[in-house]
Amino acid sequence: MNIYLPIAEMSVSVALFLGLGWAVGFLSGLFGVGGGFLLTPLLIFMGIPSAVAVGTGSMHIVASSVSGAIAQYQRNNVDIKMGFVLVAGGVFGSAIGVGIVRILRDIGQFDLFVALSYVTFLGAVGALMMIESVGTIRKARLGQPVSTRKTGQHSWVHGLPFKMRFHRSKLYISVVPPALIGAFVGFMAAVMGIGGGFVMVPAMIYLLRVPTNVVVGTSLFQIVFVMAVTTVLQAVQNQTVDVVLALLLIIGGVIGAQLGAAAGGRLKGEQLRFLLAALVILMCFRIGWDLVARPDELYSITPLLGVAK
């Protein structure tokens, strides 16, 4: 059965896109990640215009993060104050990102920019995760104690002005670093169609030294709000949010995520991180290959933007 997507303007197979949503949902449930970094490139491979893939991806992330965010909030795992600082930065970054999407589409370099961003971030994050997980696995084999994070250390981050007290996180730090982290993640959200959890969580842990029990809830809180704002901005500025496509992916995704989470419970944390790192690096190479391999077709056509239909 096929369905005609109103914004992407193409007829697609319902089963195929439900399946895609399922697969991404399964992996995100398995690894406990948002899955945006998998979904957006896969949509582009399937022939969805990259701007529509990015815009629709943000709507998909709202759906897949909202229930988790509410659950975390109910367990009092969200630092609301920190969350709002991150959101404020995120909205700012997202607005800039959405504007840049428009400019890049006009000059025909959006696809290149998306591909380069993905290669850079997936490559860096994948490599770091791979090194960390391999190290942990090796230590566990040798029977060495796995070192845990030391708390209470001070870094350059704590010397900045505009300090604010974050009760839930038991921190008294400058608002500048969380706002900057939020802005950066918001920018990536708009340009790459990802939630940015895989950047935000390590940044909060290692740079801000937010306690781990608060990190996940607070980052989910930020993701839901920033992605909601990003969805509206993409709809207004670029008209690239396809609700029909998003619904297909969401329906497939929720089912996949439940099964993935169940499967993930049977694996150890470092094994999961190793597998995820392998997946991320694979994705990075796949996208990178398209940049360096000589394409079969050198030309491409697009209707001129900004012309009323």
């Binding site: 709202v62 696809d111 509206v232 000589r294 001129l304």
Partner: protein, 320 residues
């Protein structure tokens, strides 16, 4: 997708070859290179037909009952052939279940002089076109190991969709000048680059860009050449042709031009119109997204929140 494209390509090629074989046995003299390319499209060569007929591609009129305006003068010896045509579907609805459509273009020749449907006395060409739109063509080059869009040309008007059907391959029907004049055939579509892009590109480079447009549009299935017997005669004057509208046909008005050829010249032409319209949910969502983008964005977010919550509530209950 790709394999399907190749298969279609192969069948088309085979069909064209068949057409060549069939036609060459029955063909009378064609290839009179009528080269007076002065008039606008669909203007009839007056000298040949004696009685001057004049039509223009005028504004939209209720087709079907429309007849070419003929400034009738004293009818002379040879009666004037005239073509009349219409389409089976005047408006095609694009719904969420839209997977393409097929329209039938049919009509008849007044005062047909041909002895039968296989005589090859007349040739008919049907061209169905979508709205011309400005189109950017980009070319990638190798920049330090990365393949990056470097060159681009904007063509002011490229038909979003172009389907052609004819009684035989068009280059057997008329010479290039006639085809150019009426924009019949992919190679004869009028594509003018925007003035600012003309400098710096030689004729060859521009031709490569034009060829790329046609190649890519054919790959997308938007430029279609109906195979052999794209237009068939039924008896002396009736003819019919089916034109495929693919699922990805750009929504908008379509113009169907029907040309009657004799001895390599257009002796009559007719225009019919088809509208493609979004209907139902499809129309609702599209106009919502483009007319009220802010509220559409809010709607998308609410939909996402609702579906996310519903799904997790459902699964929590299922687990317990």
């Amino acid at each position: 997708m790709r394999t399907k494209g190749i298969m279609i390509g192969v069948t088309r090629l085979a069909a064209c070859l068949c057409a060549l074989v069939v036609v060459s046995s029955t063909a009378p003299k064609v290839w009179s290179l009528g080269g007076e390319a002065h008039a606008g499209p669909a203007r009839v060569d007056e000298r040949r037909t004696k009685a001057p007929t004049k039509k223009q591609m005028g504004p939209r009129q209720p087709s079907g009952t429309r007849r070419p305006e003929i400034k009738a003068q004293a009818p002379q010896a040879a009666p004037v052939e005239r073509i009349e045509a219409d389409v089976s579907t005047r408006s095609v609805e694009v719904t969420t279940a839209f997977t393409g459509h097929e329209i039938l273009v049919f009509g008849s020749i007044d005062n047909s002089q041909q002895p039968g449907d296989e005589s090859g006395y007349y040739n008919i060409v049907v061209v169905v076109e979508g709205t011309p739109e400005p189109t950017v063509v980009r070319r990638k080059s190798d920049v330090g190991g990365l393949w990056i869009n470097t060159l681009s040309v904007i063509f002011a008007s490229v038909p979003s969709y172009y389907a052609i059907a004819s009684t035989r391959p068009i280059d057997e029907i008329a010479g290039p000048n006639v085809l150019d004049k009426h924009a019949i055939g992919f190679a004869h579509i009028k594509m003018t680059p925007e003035p600012s892009y003309q400098w710096g590109f030689g004729e060859e480079a521009l031709a490569a860009f034009k060829a790329a447009v046609i190649r890519l549009k054919r790959q997308e299935g938007l430029y279609i050449m109906e195979a052999k017997d794209g237009v068939t005669f039924i008896g002396r004057s009736l003819f019919r042709s089916t034109i495929a509208l693919p699922a990805n046909v750009p929504v908008g008005p379509l113009v169907a031009r029907v040309f009657l050829f004799r001895d390599g010249e257009v002796i009559s032409a007719h225009i019919a119109r088809v509208t493609l319209e979004r209907t139902g949910l499809e129309r609702l969502l599209h106009s919502f997204a483009f007319r009220y983008p802010f509220f559409y964005g809010i709607f998308a977010v609410l939909l996402a929140v609702l579906s996310g919550l519903l799904a997790s509530a459902y699964f929590r209950r299922a687990v317990r």
